[in-house]
Each structure stands twice: as structure tokens, then as C-alpha cells.
């Protein structure tokens, strides 16, 4: 690999210098074969294990924004795209990668409505051009106690908010996601009240960390990761980051959100990553980093706001044990 000196002299690799996924997928397969070969006496055993994963997806490139790139090692593309919670495509984490092929992401529109001076409907092309795309490497902490590190591509949600020009009555923002039985087999199960909805307070939504996301790992979003457009809120548990958004509503009252409606004692409206507030059924003090922490490694400590202390000022004076 050619290591270039960055024009800005910052000692962080450019997005393009991070090992391309085809290369590290190949390495993983090779090492899997080595391990199986050494232990089972035959390299052939691993042939089924190395799942081919050249996605053939459309490339989407953007300059890495160093201000928003954690130094943690990015999760393997293979893991980030085959271990997903996306119940519209099945409840097993392996389901979405298998079944999300039926999602039709083009044409796609997102309607912006509610307390805005400029209600509008944006197609994908308009969304792509709304603001300059940038790559950001965020930690992602799931409420279930595992985490990943993902290079996303998008721009701050605030750019879209600015364009929509909310009225002073807009206090919250609501994300409504696609719910189409024809495309989403999981909707047959009334697990939650479809469509899946999520929401933020206006100041949270305007925080520069909140990313309107169109791609990851240098390509457009894979279907199972919420194609074609989602939000990523790295200081909150993963389920707050709504996928496959079709509607963004600006509202006066705190919106009802999907998991919160189902089990308010387990999934709060805020759901900020907080090691001090346990989930009723497990501790949130630690987490397992997918693909990196070995089988017998201790879990790593979870950081307040997932390490994004920038957002702390949004919650000053709030009792975060009460507003979990």
C-alpha cells in the first residue's frame, strides 16, 4: 500500500488508504483457511466459511473528515453487512443480508413536512447534492451490548434542516421509515407498530454529529444497512438511527418512537449511550467490539455518550437516569 503524506500533515490515513474491503475480505478468508487447515488438517474445510462478499455495489467516494473520524479500527465490511438488526427484513441478525434484496431503493423520495416553511419532496439525486458528501468514521453502539466502527458517507443532518427552514414551532423531528409488505417480509410479524419511527429533539438533530447517511465503506448503503438514506447518531444506541427513511416531519410535540412505544421501560426516547444506566435485562457498562475482541477477551468499557462528549451540553441539567 502506498502511504501518502497528507497535504494537511495530519497523521490519519486518508479514506482511500484504509485497506479496501476486497483486500481484507481476502485476508480473512485466507486466515480462516490457515486456521482450519492447521486445526482440521485440511485447508479445504474453510472453503464454505469464507463467504464471498464482493458486493458489486455502486461506488460512492468522499473525503474523510478528520474531525469526525475515530481512531478505532473499522469493523470488517463482512461483519457490518451480515450482522444487522433490521426487523423489516427478519428478526435474526443474518436475515437482512439474505432478504433485503427485495428492497427497491430507486426511485426513492423523502418528503419533508410539518412545521417547515418549505415543505418539499427530495429524490435521491437531490439528497446527494444537498451538501458536500464526507466520510466519517463513527463508533456504533447497539443497545444489546455490542459495537462496531463504521466509515459512513453523508453530511450533517443540519444541512437538510436548514434547507427545510423549520418554523419556530418545530421542537422535534420525526423520521418515518419505509413499511411496504411487498418489499419487506418482516412486516408480516406485528413486532412493533409499523412503520418504524424514530425522533430527536431539534437541538439534537442540529448537532453536527447527526449524520444524514447515504453510503458506507466507499459505496452506497447496502440494503440491509438502511439503503438508500438513513440517519446515524453515534452518541445514541443504534436503534435511534432510523433506516430507509421516507418522511421527515418537523413537529411540536415529542414524537412517539417505535421501540419506546413497545417497551418504554427498556427503550427511552433519548437512549443516549450511558454506561451508568443499565438496561433492565443487562448492564450497559461494557460492550463487545464485533470482529475485534477475541473469543476470550474481556468486554471493553462503554464510554459516556459512546465517547462523543461534544453532545454533553445538549443535556446539561437533565437527569439522564430519568431521561434514559
Amino acid at each position: 500500500m502506498l502511504i501518502r503524506i497528507r497535504p494537511d500533515q495530519i497523521d490519519i490515513p486518508l479514506a482511500s488508504d484504509i485497506t479496501p474491503q476486497q483486500v481484507y475480505a481476502g485476508r480473512r478468508a485466507f486466515m480462516g483457511q490457515l486456521a482450519a487447515g492447521a486445526l482440521a488438517g485440511s485447508g479445504l474445510l474453510a472453503a464454505g466459511a469464507a463467504v464471498a462478499q464482493s458486493s458489486g455495489a455502486r461506488k460512492l467516494t468522499a473525503q474523510l473528515n478528520n474531525a469526525y473520524a475515530v481512531m478505532d479500527k473499522p469493523t470488517a465490511y463482512q461483519d457490518a453487512t451480515t450482522y444487522n438488526n433490521y426487523y423489516e427484513f427478519g428478526t435474526d441478525k443474518a436475515d437482512p443480508a439474505r432478504t433485503a434484496g427485495t428492497l427497491k431503493t430507486n426511485p426513492w423520495t423523502v418528503s419533508i413536512e410539518g412545521e417547515v416553511k418549505k415543505p418539499m419532496t427530495l429524490d435521491l439525486d437531490a439528497l446527494m447534492k444537498l451538501a458536500p458528501l464526507e466520510e466519517r468514521i463513527y463508533r456504533m453502539r447497539c443497545v444489546e451490548g455490542w459495537s462496531m466502527v463504521i466509515p459512513w458517507i453523508g453530511y450533517s443532518l443540519s444541512a437538510l434542516i436548514k434547507k427545510a427552514d423549520p418554523t419556530s414551532a418545530a421542537k422535534y423531528i420525526e423520521f418515518v421509515t419505509l413499511a411496504d409488505k411487498k418489499q419487506m417480509p418482516g412486516l408480516a410479524d406485528p413486532i412493533i407498530n409499523w412503520p418504524y419511527t424514530e425522533g430527536l429533539r431539534m437541538d439534537e438533530a442540529n448537532h453536527p454529529l447527526a449524520l444524514l447517511t447515504l453510503g458506507m465503506y466507499g459505496e452506497v448503503l447496502p440494503n440491509q444497512n438502511g439503503a438508500p438514506v438513513r440517519v446515524v447518531l453515534p452518541w445514541k444506541y443504534g436503534f435511534k438511527s432510523a433506516k430507509s427513511i421516507v418522511k421527515i416531519r418537523f413537529v411540536k410535540e415529542q414524537p412517539k418512537t417505535a421501540w419506546n412505544m413497545y417497551a418504554p421501560q427498556e427503550y427511552g426516547f433519548y437512549s443516549n449511550v450511558n454506561p451508568e444506566v443499565d438496561h433492565p435485562r443487562w448492564s450497559q457498562a461494557s460492550e463487545r467490539r464485533i470482529g475485534e475482541d477475541g473469543f476470550f477477551a474481556r468486554k471493553r468499557k462503554t464510554l459516556m455518550f459512546n465517547g462523543y462528549n461534544d453532545v454533553a451540553s445538549l443535556y446539561s441539567g437533565m437527569d439522564l437516569k430519568r431521561y434514559y
Binding site: 480473512r28 480462516g32 486456521a35 482450519a36 486445526l39 482440521a40 474445510l45 474453510a46 464454505g48 466459511a49 469464507a50 463482512q78 461483519d79 451480515t82 450482522y83 428478526t91 441478525k93 443474518a94 455490542w146 410479524d189 413486532i191 412493533i192 413497545y262 417497551a263 427498556e266 443499565d278 433492565p280 435485562r281 443487562w282 448492564s283 463487545r288 464485533i290 470482529g291 473469543f295 476470550f296 474481556r298 468486554k299
Partner: protein, 222 residues
């Protein structure tokens, strides 16, 4: 199918040997998957859930042996029960070990905190602890030592243990509203327990009805 009602001791022993190997397959599969890198992105979650699933299958299977024996008249089935019961304990033990080792790294205090604070873990732990005396008294020598009556009373703990195992599973799944499987398991266990509550006469009537509908294979001769 007639020959199945009268299996020789030797046949039963052979059958038990085959079953012994079959019951190990879930563990063999997990070990093979570990070496083949096929446990997925979150291997510990995978083995935790998988050993828990198998523990439940074996618990329910063991509870099913007596009703199945009555339904079919295959009395030799009871001679497989000790082994399936011990396998249930084995998979529960693996499930617990993963929790104690890979989740808590043998930190007893931390584990205890989890057990008292979280009802689903309390119940899971109770399932494991209550199984220990049953496993410990599973040998012929222990049956003799306790005497048949007392041994039987002790082993009726099964009727508490299996529902506790299902309740543990239910609470695990309830958080994400995935109740189809827990409901199925609870119904199976409820049916297996209810059959035992019927009077011998009613039970015979039910078994014969089931038999007529082709569920059973042999009419029970009593």
C-alpha cells in the same frame, strides 16, 4: 412398527449408544463452526443462544418420554430418560459456563449482581441450580441409596425446572417481542404437564383418541 413394542435389552443398549453420539452433535457442530470461522460476527452470542436452545430441547424431550411411552406402549423409552436428562444438564451447564466465563470472566460478585438484579437471569440460574441435585442422584447407586420413592419425589423437581427454563427463554425474547417460539415451547410443556394430571382412566381415553387419529402407533394394553 410392532417390533418396537418389545425391544430386547441389547437392542435398547445399542439404541442408547447411537443416541449418545447423536446428542453430542450440537456441541460438535459448535466446535467445528468455531474452527471454520462460521459462528458469525458475534460468536459468543451465537454459542450462548445455541447452547440455551439445545438445553431447552433436551429438557422438553426428557419431559416427553413418559407421555410418549404411554401413548405408544414402548416401555423401553424410559431407559433413555436418564441420558436425555443428563444431556439437558450438560447443555445447561455449557450455557451457564459461557455466561460465567465469557460474560463475567469468573467475577463471582459481578455475576451475583446480575443474578439478583435481573429476573430472567435469576430464573435461568434457578433452572441450573435445581438441576444439580437431579444430575448428582442420577446413578443407580444413588437411586438405591435414596430409595425409589424418595428418589422419585426428588426428581419431580423436573416439573418445576422445565417451566422455569421456558420462562427464562420467554423473558429473553419478550424484550424484542419475539414470542412465537416461547409460546410454542410453553404450550408443549403445558401439554406434557397436563397429561400427567389426568386420572388414569381419562388418560387412557385420551391416549386411545390420539391413537385413533393416527398420532400413536400402538394401542396401549393395560
Amino acid at each position: 412398527m410392532k417390533f418396537l413394542s418389545n425391544l430386547s435389552t441389547q437392542r435398547v443398549r445399542q439404541l442408547r449408544n447411537v443416541l449418545f453420539v447423536l446428542c453430542l452433535l450440537p456441541l460438535v457442530r459448535l466446535v467445528a463452526f468455531a474452527f471454520l470461522n462460521r459462528l458469525g460476527a458475534n460468536p459468543i452470542e451465537f454459542i450462548t443462544r445455541n447452547t440455551g436452545d439445545w438445553a431447552l430441547y433436551f429438557l422438553m424431550g426428557t419431559l416427553a418420554i413418559t407421555p410418549l411411552r404411554r401413548l405408544t406402549g414402548w416401555n423401553w423409552l424410559v431407559r433413555l430418560r436418564r441420558m436425555t436428562g443428563l444431556y439437558a444438564f450438560f447443555y445447561v451447564f455449557l450455557h451457564f459456563t459461557i455466561f460465567f466465563w465469557l460474560d463475567h470472566f469468573f467475577d463471582f460478585q459481578e455475576m451475583w449482581h446480575d443474578i439478583v438484579k435481573r429476573p430472567f437471569i435469576t430464573v435461568g440460574m434457578a433452572t441450573f441450580v435445581l438441576l444439580i441435585p437431579l444430575a448428582a442422584t442420577s446413578t443407580n447407586a444413588m437411586v438405591r441409596y435414596l430409595g425409589g420413592k424418595r428418589w422419585q419425589w426428588l426428581h419431580r423437581l423436573t416439573y418445576v425446572i422445565v417451566p422455569l427454563g421456558v420462562l427464562h427463554f420467554w423473558w429473553v425474547k419478550a424484550g424484542k417481542n419475539l414470542l412465537a417460539q416461547p409460546i410454542l415451547f410453553a404450550s408443549i410443556v403445558a401439554a406434557l404437564l397436563l397429561v400427567r394430571l389426568l386420572s388414569p382412566k381419562n388418560r387412557q381415553w385420551l391416549m386411545q383418541r390420539l391413537n385413533k387419529r393416527g398420532v400413536g402407533i400402538n394401542v396401549v394394553k393395560e
